[in-house]
Symmetry: C2
Subunit: 315 residues, 2 copies
Amino acid sequence: MQIVVLAGGIGGARFLAGVRAYARGAGAQVTAVVNVGDDIRLHGLRICPDLDSVMYHLGGAADPERGWGRAGETWAVKDELAAYGAEPTWFGLGDRDIATHLVRTTMLDAGYPLSAVTEALCARWQPGVRLLPATDDRMETHVVVDLDGERRAVHFQEWWVRYRGDLPTHRFVFVGAESAKPAAGVLKAIGSADAVLVAPSNPVVSIAPILAVPEIRDALVGGPAPVVGVAPIIGGRPVRGMADRCLAALDVPCTAEAVGGMYGARSGSGILDGWLVDDTDAGAEVPGVRVGSAPLWMTDEKATAEMARAALELM
Amino acid sequence: MQIVVLAGGIGGARFLAGVRAYARGAGAQVTAVVNVGDDIRLHGLRICPDLDSVMYHLGGAADPERGWGRAGETWAVKDELAAYGAEPTWFGLGDRDIATHLVRTTMLDAGYPLSAVTEALCARWQPGVRLLPATDDRMETHVVVDLDGERRAVHFQEWWVRYRGDLPTHRFVFVGAESAKPAAGVLKAIGSADAVLVAPSNPVVSIAPILAVPEIRDALVGGPAPVVGVAPIIGGRPVRGMADRCLAALDVPCTAEAVGGMYGARSGSGILDGWLVDDTDAGAEVPGVRVGSAPLWMTDEKATAEMARAALELM
């Protein structure tokens, strides 16, 4: 059995750990198609926060308390960059993490596509899941906000990390998405999948940028595999992160039902065949989509593996 | 009074600290023209060992025991790069040091010349001496050696750091020197200098690459300022480093007199008007050059300032 998972960073990583646990029991292979809209070049380094969150988490190297970056991280380079006055100073570049970015940037600058670089990095971490960036092309999520009395577009990281999303926010733009091609391996993975799962990641800034790559969306809509999403909202609140702020900018209510409706039915103009909500939200309805419920708190890998099982039962 | 000093890394840095101390007393300004032949790109980072040794040392930030790199240095990035299997692993890239390289590389990639980058970095360190790279162009010292049964050229850093100079060594090649132009400010500094001092740096791999830039050599030979060198050899042994190995490759005896002869008299085809040797080597003769002697051990800044004074008295 081949399972493809569309995923963002930290929430996606936790969900993938559960899918991996499920897949080990079921003899299935898992491919993750990971958001790159959060990617950014800082201090000359190409940083892929979502790919790294997934890679570190599945590789057992993530910081368990902070939720992002490496366990045992140190911050000498960051402190020194600040002492030089090198901007930006608001992004948390750890020393261990920087080694990853140096290897990645060196390979990218030598001409390797991000998908090949990711595979090379994963040779060390052995995540047990095949990690693919959504695209090897440049694609960045920018956010249209009011800032200093002007309407401006800032990079997603600036919006999220620097301003904590606390700016009047109008919309999200996936710069480069229209001309972006799926990364090597993505279309083949989706085309040969037995199931596609949408992780309970932020629908607006983690999943939407993946779907914004036209051929990925087309492959999901037109492909043979059923697509089942897992709700990132439980009882009207995001499981983690700031999906509520993002949904508000789009005038989408912060409910599991509304997010399911935003993804939409594959029989209509959407992508979903099934939609798994938390038991709290049982009774949610998404026209044209089979809706089921299960406990959706990812408290540990076992509970999360049960979520994967419940999602696959909606196929 | 304007003093220009040609200098390499660690020995050059110590000498410059003495020249700076002398200049403070004499109301003089000091410009250092620093070797860039040791420069190398590693892991995508532009590393300038000599410029950084001088900058850190004069800025009070150098490690006093190791002699190179930053005080209080940590090595998280280096360990991680090795864990990725990223080559080379033999070069000591410290975390604090890496911040310098990130700032430098970002500025270079944005189009700033190395001289402007160096000035920007020095805004933090306030070395009290104007630091100029010999050239803003790419120039690298390579070493022709016997390795694995073949005659090969390796980068100077590989020869020095990886192999500790312990290979059959035939010659040193300053790749790019012939077409390299002096960095912005170098010719003006030499042209308006009241004196040029050659630091007791390695004559073969620190000073010779500076002189290999044709317009720098021409400016020294044809300029108004007297040029006085300070011997890097005391009693037949290098003050530090491996000048002995380098001189052997050129069949030059490891003596203060022979190194003076290698630089040669400005009245002939060389660059020197004066040559200061240690009292141990008093009596050394270099045809056409005024030779003096003084204690040349750079035990502290005061002793080194006295060396500068003695060198300037040979003008």
